[in-house]
Symmetry: none
Subunit: 225 residues, 4 copies
Amino acid sequence: MDTTPPASTGEPRPRDAEATRRALLRAARGRFTVLGYDRTTTRDVANDAGVNLMLINRYFGGKQGLFQAVVAASPDPLAEDDSSPGDIVDDFLDGLRPDAWPEFGSHPMLLLLRDSSVDKEIQDLRALAMDKAVARIIASGRPEPGGAASEPGPETRLRAQLVLALFSGVVALRSMAPVEPLASVEADDLRSALDDAIDALIGSPLQSRRSAAGKETGAEHRRST
Amino acid sequence: MDTTPPASTGEPRPRDAEATRRALLRAARGRFTVLGYDRTTTRDVANDAGVNLMLINRYFGGKQGLFQAVVAASPDPLAEDDSSPGDIVDDFLDGLRPDAWPEFGSHPMLLLLRDSSVDKEIQDLRALAMDKAVARIIASGRPEPGGAASEPGPETRLRAQLVLALFSGVVALRSMAPVEPLASVEADDLRSALDDAIDALIGSPLQSRRSAAGKETGAEHRRST
Amino acid sequence: MDTTPPASTGEPRPRDAEATRRALLRAARGRFTVLGYDRTTTRDVANDAGVNLMLINRYFGGKQGLFQAVVAASPDPLAEDDSSPGDIVDDFLDGLRPDAWPEFGSHPMLLLLRDSSVDKEIQDLRALAMDKAVARIIASGRPEPGGAASEPGPETRLRAQLVLALFSGVVALRSMAPVEPLASVEADDLRSALDDAIDALIGSPLQSRRSAAGKETGAEHRRST
Amino acid sequence: MDTTPPASTGEPRPRDAEATRRALLRAARGRFTVLGYDRTTTRDVANDAGVNLMLINRYFGGKQGLFQAVVAASPDPLAEDDSSPGDIVDDFLDGLRPDAWPEFGSHPMLLLLRDSSVDKEIQDLRALAMDKAVARIIASGRPEPGGAASEPGPETRLRAQLVLALFSGVVALRSMAPVEPLASVEADDLRSALDDAIDALIGSPLQSRRSAAGKETGAEHRRST
DNA sequence: AATGAATGAGCTTTCATTCAT
DNA sequence: GATGAATGAAAGCTCATTCAT
């Protein structure tokens, strides 16, 4: 299920099976993320990709295999951005921008939320991706009060999962079940509120987060301390 | 396309049409919330309800009508509990307990999150229910700094929707795409963290919320300011 | 899988599901016996029967179920004719005539020979029918030398199965893989030779068989006695 | 539509085309005889042979051509054994042994019985092979009463075909539609009964056959004359 | 009013085959 | 000559729905 192309060698590949594979994956991503598994038909995917229907079977073994490949190839929903290392909210907001996920077309979290029951292997992939995101959240948060960053306690883990829940909900309420104005506002407009919430849930590395720009706008909403 | 039943008029119903309707709705709720729209077959619903398949068409005009009726009949996901009026977290947690929604079988938010694109009318119903939940959240929060509770500002509305996003995410990550341990913990174990987050997002009515029991356990996680 | 109609009541049956069932079975028999399982398409069967394709699924659960039903409804290939009780050759030859199996359309042995590997249940049905035919052959033969007709010895059983093999071969070489002139001769023209062979294999009840008409024509072919 | 290979000409074959051809034929034989024409897929044959799928088209013009080649290359089902010349039962029984047809893998009669309707050319090939077998049977039998061995009379031909029918039936009931114990007994255990039947059908060359070993065991089953 | 027979559309998958490299 | 990509046709099956009784 490796979807990495063999690097763009200058040769014009035999009849470009790899390009076909990519086209299918790309088309499938769009359909699966927007319509979900059931409403996505292999015919439509093949049409979108401009290739023959049969090649889905040839390359992915069928609809399920195609879905698995899409899930497996989905990027980390909380991909760390090099420009703002460490800040989880920044990275999440980056993923919310219209030009995010240029290769993927749609927020990868949608794939993880929807159609989780298609397949056992899909469930495992989803669980893996979720755990990875949770780990990322924990790593970005304030270190445990005790100090040692070794193993996060259960409460920390739970709170990190609540952060993931919040992020998931935002994605869901912006894409799957749009709620206005949440669905239409700029990503940056969510920063202060999200910062408040995440701070409240898992705290923040005292310097790195607070030093980021423009987070005080929502301060007056926070409870008086 | 009007699928509204004759309602409980005083007329002497033919056989027990209302009971049949209810049985169908009940069966459909279970299937729709757990399996989603597409994986739910009318035959299974009819079988579960123990009635003839045709009655779905008769009473609801078809599968879509049945789904609409289920959505329309779904209770408010943030139904206000009389015992703890005003506290939104309490009400949300109540809805998370296994014995909640005895008449509905599953958390009504699932219906709103899933299959939102089935139908235009469904989208409207969903938007309505969502707005209602948001209003409930706003009402439960701290009054606007300015004072007058009249119309909430856009920022307030957005923050309330983030609270809804958090709630939605929790429901999703507990049911649709289970993430452990979040999916399995008792509802009460989420209280302190949720309290922190909601406080951070929309503040809290200073008295009513803080006076509720057992919210200090997670305090050490909050950022020391 | 009971295929017996509820007797031809005078009522014009609701929309005649039974007639549809029969039409499907009839059409399927023809296709299955002539073309075999694989070359028979459900579409063709439905067309032949003049009914909708779906009803195959409705009534028989699918192609395999239809095939099973056909096999289950196939008459005994060595059905005992009342007019000539006891004589196995007569009954076999009767089954070879063009007007035989009016309800079935084709020799039922074809169904047992072909496509025996479709299904475990099919195999069982075939084995059952075969055993029945063998028992019929044994019963028609000369009693065991020892006298008691109780249980046939293994050698007797084997020889009876060779008789069945001969019959099967005749049917096969007349229908499945026609060999001329065997495929085209009248059934009666096979009598003397078959009589000789069956006599040689399992003997004959001395009176009943020899007293049948016209069996001496082939005598000069038999080994000098 | 000529599928005949370049045959073993003295030319220096390109790679080892002939070996590839043989490998394909070998693989196809196994599949066709066991599974029949329809259940045999070209892909499986190519895989079994370890060659590229396209070569089936190249060398045989397609699936049908491959099947034709297999039928054309199938050995005589009643191949004469040098050690026991003349005795047809011996030769038939030899063909029933597990180690028979080492090059072919399965009894060639199966190919002639099954899938007879695939193709007109197949039918011709089959008819040819059948006629050859019948001629072999006639030749092995007792000479015509009249004396001159020139042309067999129609009755003789018919009886020889019944012998072929018996043989075919035995093969069928041992392989295609197994009937126990016939399917499992040793070939030699069928000798006496088959001898009796063949004798009764076409007589026996008075010396050659009766002098063969162990044929009296089943004599008591024959009718006392 | 209610039952069940009948229907058409659509989906996934399989297969043999042809087309380029 | 040989490889693998690509293709079109067709099959079985499921589903929601409509039609009669």
